[in-house]
Subunit: 364 residues, 2 copies
DNA sequence: CCTCCTTGTGGAATCGATTACACGGAGGAT
DNA sequence: ATCCTCCGTGTAATCGATTCCACAAGGAGG
């Protein structure tokens, strides 16, 4: 029944009214007689008519579409974020176009440009770098924009992110309780705020170490793509028995030396390990990996709401949500007798695998 | 410099030519004098002009955009597929809009409808169900479409997928060689072709069993969302010492009984396990999981090329690429003289990553 | 010197919607 | 009865591009 070439004119002809009336029915404008309305609806039905979103966008100057530029689709954290963003946007009648920057600034620019060319209503970005001229121009030109997870310092754009400091404090306490005394941090690309944030994470450490005399942690840089994270960081960090903390892809690189004939450190026996961002598979690794989990769903929702507020003229504020520590076994076996069941992951979709000790829950 | 409200008219005014000439320059039409061209280019530069893709699409009736509807973004297989699709499309000057159906037919329809409304040039689908009227209508209406991974039987649309039969034969041989004699298959939703394909995978077994006297494998159904795959399939399948094969999310559900107090089957000691689709984290699980890997990158590229062939008037054919077996340790230790390690040692919990034994490579 | 063709250019139609504006008729108030 | 509101409707302008067509200028060929 539905040829895709049906336009509003055809519907008007079929219903015996003008295109204006058809349009009014389509947009549920009040001043249409019930009779006309019925005939239009019937014609639409009969012809299988669907309004052309392109034409509509041209006229109304809005696409009801959001752009989301993330730095790495292969990273489960961003995948989950994308999912929740799309969900939240859909609930509000918006679509989402995802651009994957693959941690490459020029690809990020490509996507931003493409998205802008398509006149998306607003942009959600997790910047790969310190801000290209293009992005800066876009902000200056008044494109509604919100940063997620990462941000560009000095740019006046709301940021929706999670704060891991409390969770890091919990982690440090946890580590200390298990007897670990030397810490190292493997960080991502220095250009990103999350890559350089370990500085602040590090600074969180002393706060926690009122009770735990850990020295300032050592820190190393790593690339973040899992299979590309080639060089075993162990080579560059000569002290054993220190826990590490980083994001999952980085961690997957970091884990490699465990089997490296040159190193042969065993987790958690010789060295502890913890990750930033929790992902489903951490439950199944050997050992299950202790991680700091971000509230991905809430982050996505908050970002969408902030952006749409901005689009519709309101003035959104930045949002910071607490991350929380999920203890598993990669920093050592917990000794305390624990009643509860494994909460699995923070998404609520539990697999109920292990029984990790929960030091503290940030969201009640 | 760049106010986003710059239109072709402004450029024309600035350059002192007509909009027609500007358009010709933009589309590198031959008959423009070098002088005019230069002035237009300068004006474009000065104004920071970017053509409005929406207007252009309306006029030319093409968006240079592909839709990709996948059944689950959280599944790394689809994530990788999406990435390669976007990459291939970008290389050919197309953008991709991803729709995540979350295995829900009505969501799938929502995305297909939205994509169609935006007049995308073509659609790549990995169907969640047997085909809604909407999708069937779209095909009938002549929307360029290509199925990826899964397909809808009886619909005349090219399919790009991988054939796991050879790899399954390799797997069966591998299992048999390790002494396994009873097989079970955990399949996904029966409505999908990949969910019901185990029938054909099962049928592949006897072929392989000329040399290996395995009985027809038992098969069970599971939902495919990893944490949602709640019920431990072990309860329903009473025979131990049988390897299982399924996709990673399903597998992650299936692994649970390992720790389930009621079952306490150990992998690979009591039961072997193998998965369809290989994912990065399988290297780090306990034990590393033997899997059948699909050539995701090639699949994505092939799909894009097929679709664009179709869009540009050529007639694409279906493509089937071989999957291949990646042996790790979840079906048992391989006994072959493996260089680096002590053979026969049973540490209970295996750590780490091996050089996987590659039984056979399908792509040379 | 007068065609004829080529080349560059601008005017205007077009894509499919939305919406300002004008207009005719019904109904209420005076 | 006359006038003034509404109400429902249609005509036409508009969004920002592309492209057909007409036309002018200039060079080649007769």
């Amino acid at each position: 029944m539905a040829a895709s070439s049906v336009s509003i004119k055809d519907v008007a002809a079929e219903a015996g009214v003008s295109v204006a009336t058809v349009s009014r029915v389509l947009n549920s404008h009040p001043s249409v007689s019930p009779a006309s309305r019925a005939r239009v609806v019937a014609a639409v039905e009969a012809l299988g008519y669907r309004p052309n979103a392109v034409a509509r966008s041209l006229r109304t100057d809005q696409t009801r579409t959001l752009g989301l530029v993330i730095s790495d689709v292969l990273n489960p954290y961003f995948t989950e974020l994308a999912r929740s963003v799309e969900e939240a946007a859909r609930a509000l009648g918006y679509s989402v176009i995802i651009g994957n920057a693959d941690e490459r600034p020029e690809l990020q620019d490509h996507h931003v440009r493409t998205l802008l060319d398509r006149r998306i209503d607003g942009l959600l970005v997790s910047p790969t770098d310190g801000g290209s001229p293009l992005m800066l121009d876009a902000v200056r030109a008044g494109t509604p924009m919100v940063f997620v997870d990462r941000w560009i310092p000095g740019v006046d754009v709301p940021v929706v992110r999670s704060d891991g400091r409390a969770a890091v404090r919990d982690l440090v306490a946890h580590l200390h309780g298990l007897g670990h005394r030397r810490l190292a941090i493997i960080a991502g690309p220095a250009a990103t705020t999350t890559g350089s944030e370990p500085a602040s994470r590090r600074s969180a450490t002393p706060c926690a170490s009122t009770a735990s005399p850990c020295p300032t942690p050592i820190s190393a840089r790593a690339t973040s793509r899992p299979p590309a994270g080639a060089a075993p960081p162990s080579a560059s960090s000569p002290c054993p028995s220190r826990p590490r903390s980083s994001s999952p892809p980085t961690t997957s690189g970091a884990r490699r030396p465990r089997r490296d004939p040159r190193a042969r450190l065993r987790v958690p026996h010789d060295i502890g390990l913890a990750a930033f961002d929790d992902i489903p598979w951490f439950v199944h690794t050997d050992p299950p990996v202790t991680a700091i989990a971000q509230p991905t769903g809430d982050l996505g929702r908050a970002a969408v709401h902030a952006l749409i507020d901005r689009i519709e003229g309101r003035t959104p504020r930045s949002v910071t949500l607490p991350a929380r520590l999920v203890v598993r076994r990669s920093c050592g076996e917990s000794t305390g007798g624990n009643s509860g069941r494994d909460p699995g992951r923070h998404t609520g979709r539990n697999t109920g695998e292990e029984t990790p000790v929960r030091i503290r829950r940030s969201n009640p």
